[in-house]
Amino acid sequence: MSKQPFISVKDLSVGYNSRSGETIEVLRNVSLDINRGESIGLVGESGSGKSTLALAAMGYFKRGLRALSGSAHFDEIDVLALDRDELQKIRGGRLALIPQNSGQSLTPTMRIGQQINEALRLHSKVGASQFQSRVIELLAQVRLPDPTALITRYPHELSGGQQQRVAIAMALAGEPDALLLDEPTTGLDVTTQAHILELLRELAQERNMAMLYVSHDLGAISRVCDRVVVMYAGEIVLTGTARQVLLAPRHPYAHGLLKSIPRLNQTSLPLALDGRPPMPGEAINGCAFADRCALVDEKCRTTPPDLHPIPSGENVRCFKSDMIADMPALNRKTGQRNSARSDVDSAALGLESLAISYEKKDWLSSLLTPGAKPQPATVDAINIRIQRGETLGLVGESGSGKSTILKAIAGLISPKEGVLTLHDNIILTPRVEDRPAPTLRQIQLIFQNPDDSLNPRHTVAQILAQPLRLYYSLSGSALHDASVDLLERVRLGAHYLDRLPSQLSGGEKQRVAIARAFAAEPEIVLCDEVTSALDVSVQAAVLDLLDDLKTQQGTTYIFVSHDLAVVKAISDRVAVLYQGRLCEIGPADAVYEAPFHPYTDVLLGAVLEPDPDIAPNLSADDVVELSPPAQGCCFQRRCPRKLGEICDKETPPVRELANGHIICCHVPASDL
């Protein structure tokens, strides 16, 4: 029997050579042990080195990176000493990786069957004649529907969840003893994520595998991991059991990270973790976290703390681990959030029987396929009135039409039917080109990914100048003053004016995008997944900023997100959408409590809380539907509460409960 742990990383440092020739360390003296049957969660912000560590355990370094010192062993084999051929025998075989983004990690020109077949040929002991049946068996094992048909499909023909399952099947093909998972559920819908995690949990137990689970999502970690390792700026700052780390973290960074996660049972905004981690290569004299820590003192700034055991069993890199319990736990603005809501009944925006269809008909296709029935509209029968100063959250899985509705409001796509009204008296013309400037100014859109929405060749000053020139004809010093004022409102300083987007962090970029939207002094701001691309700690800060801006200016938000906890934290009212149809709408507190629409119930049941004691309640499968049903209830095919024919044939009634809480379901509200 081996004395060494199954996977053992010792004092590993990884770095690269900068242009000036210095060696810059990305990982510093990291040690990590994983035994068979054990699953370890590796947590940290982007740039903390967690993926680098996981890949190093396979002897793999991204272009430019190399091991500077230390060792990495897998089953007593020194993976850093192996040559490429020997490494390739282990990789994908006994030691397999499940990648972050399977959509991009599966080769687009190879069929699913071929890709799994390749893994079998390289690593499996089964004979070539059995490959086909083994592929089907593997696909069935990860619970993919109709595996026989699936093997001839290409990756792009599968949904994100299915692609992730294929990646898991491919990893299982080599009959691995250890799995490395690099953010395997990031970017998936809540229901899909919950199902995939359950699958991984079962597989790990069944096969007694060692698992290293890399994620920034503490909810997912709490679901699958026994022990948790927290990384910060290339160092391990805290290790302990999942329960210890997630329920009573003994490092200020882990504490801040946990507090920045919005939770379903909280009504307030999460507590933001201010500042940013040091960049690789930045000089650190004392503790790397000192600049962001509330407990910091002189010693922290001058002496780097060691990773040392504490009496309760964890290993902590902090001098003050016994003082963490006294740190603030809630947002200082708790309870003030709703004060900005005006009680005057004046609508900011009205959507009346809005229907949107992406389908385009041209003369040739209608000539060649006569009598083809038009597809049901992507978004249909949406009636929502949004009050001034209100935040309306739109939630639903991908494909639920949330973003499509925002695009229609912004005038980027023309609705098929329905009317959009501003202030009850101005009818919004469908196309943004036809809208007069004053109307345009009043509606602004913030996109999900600031990397895509900010022009990489424009400085922050140029980005902010555009709306200021367009709507207010500012120039010269007035323009400069207005830009500085905007930056200060989004908590960035005037020195950001000359920077390019590439010189900003993710959170800073999104702040610039927010500043650009607010430059127009809009009444309505449409937020399309504005925090999805950000780290949780940054997300909390952006939510806090949006809330502040609203308090100051009485802005109306429409906030689209697939994250139910985020929506709950920021919204006054929440609308739940499925396949472009409204399922439920009402005050946030009412929507998140019984009675639920069956779909809301399914969504809430799949939310993963960063608490090992709360298990998700999975009541419906995670099949992805590509188009809404032609008639009846939109949720009929997945509904766990389906009554029967009535759900297939008839559009559900709009049942109004107290406080404008509406549920569209055939099941009476008293039973929901």
Binding site: Y60, Q88, H156
Partner: protein, 319 residues
């Protein structure tokens, strides 16, 4: 799929129609006509001109004549040259064959060489083989064809005396007789097209090799060369199809400079000769042929891309 095919073919036809209209109109609005040109050297008087126009049927409205010309062209009859005797289709036919021969030979050498070099330089990015080949490619692209052609003639036919420096075979000779005269023009053309395609393939290979699925294939344990051939190249070579098609169209469209330098009897030289002879019907016909070639080659390339790219293919076959 069928729908898409019909749409693209229709679009191609429309393009050729519009081009033919533009060509016809362009010739029409030029000052003078076939008769002033033809009779110009005889100091023709008005009577002779009128007679000639009557003979050549030039008095009818332009739209009628266009319809007749277009109808004939569709049936393969391009009409008569300006001398009123020679059939254009027979002059152009020979020249088209010769241009095809030149293009095929250049493609046969240039395309495989370019793909191979592109892949090698892409895989060895920033290392010796890449630096050498990329530098040479820049030279091949930037030195004008007539300079490199002249240099090659100087080296291979004047100094070394290995290859004939000029083509003396007549336009209507069978293909085999063009050897070895055709070799130098083929080499020059291959150099230029090879450089373009190689640089494109190189950047495409670099982009694909940095992709997530290549990292995944490595971490799945696929050895290097199978990974390159199975995972990387099918994706990296897709964008090359269109560049190759553009190059082929350029080759078939008559490589005027090269044909003139080497005295090669192809379409390009016929074009130049006809322009200086003011033989407008021939110029018209060549322009029409070149336009059709461009449309056809691009259509073929688009179809090929669609067949080779699963994303496009399944878009039309599975719904």
């Amino acid at each position: 799929m069928l729908l898409m095919l019909i749409r693209r073919v229709l679009l191609g036809l429309v393009t050729v129609c519009i081009v033919s209209l533009i060509i016809f109109a362009g010739v029409e609005i030029l000052p003078g006509d076939a008769c002033t040109q033809f009779l110009g050297e005889y100091q023709a008087d008005d009577e002779l001109l009128a007679q000639c126009r009557k003979d050549l049927d030039l008095n009818r409205p332009a739209i009628d004549r266009f319809a007749e010309w277009a109808g004939g062209a569709m049936a393969g009859d391009l009409g008569l040259a300006v001398d009123g005797k020679t059939k254009i289709s027979s002059i152009v036919g020979d020249r088209l064959q010769n241009s095809l021969l030149l293009a095929l030979c250049a493609m046969g050498i240039g395309v495989p060489l370019a793909l191979m070099l592109g892949v090698i330089t892409g895989l060895c990015r920033d290392r010796m083989p890449d630096l050498i080949a990329s530098t040479l490619a820049i030279f091949a692209m930037t030195i004008p064809e007539f300079v490199s052609a002249t240099l090659l003639i100087l080296i291979f036919s004047i100094w070394l005396g290995w290859l004939p420096g000029i083509v003396l075979t007549s336009a209507s000779a069978p293909a085999a007789e063009f050897f070895p005269e055709i070799l130098l023009p083929v080499i020059v053309l291959s150099l230029v097209m090879c450089a373009h395609i190689m640089r494109m393939v190189r950047s495409s290979v670099i982009e694909v090799m940095a992709g997530d699925y290549i990292q995944m294939a490595t971490l799945k344990g696929v050895p290097y060369w199978p990974m390159v051939f199975r995972h990387a190249l099918p994706n990296a070579l897709l964008p090359a199809i269109n560049v190759v098609a553009l190059t082929i169209a350029w080759l078939l469209g008559g490589v005027v400079v090269i044909e003139v330098v080497f005295n090669y009897p192809g379409l390009g030289r016929l074009m130049i000769d006809s322009i200086s002879d003011r033989d407008l019907p021939v110029v018209q016909s060549i322009a029409l042929i070149v336009a059709s070639v461009y449309v056809c080659v691009n259509l073929a390339a688009d179809l090929l891309t669609m067949l080779a790219n699963p994303k496009l293919r399944t878009m039309y076959t599975r719904k």
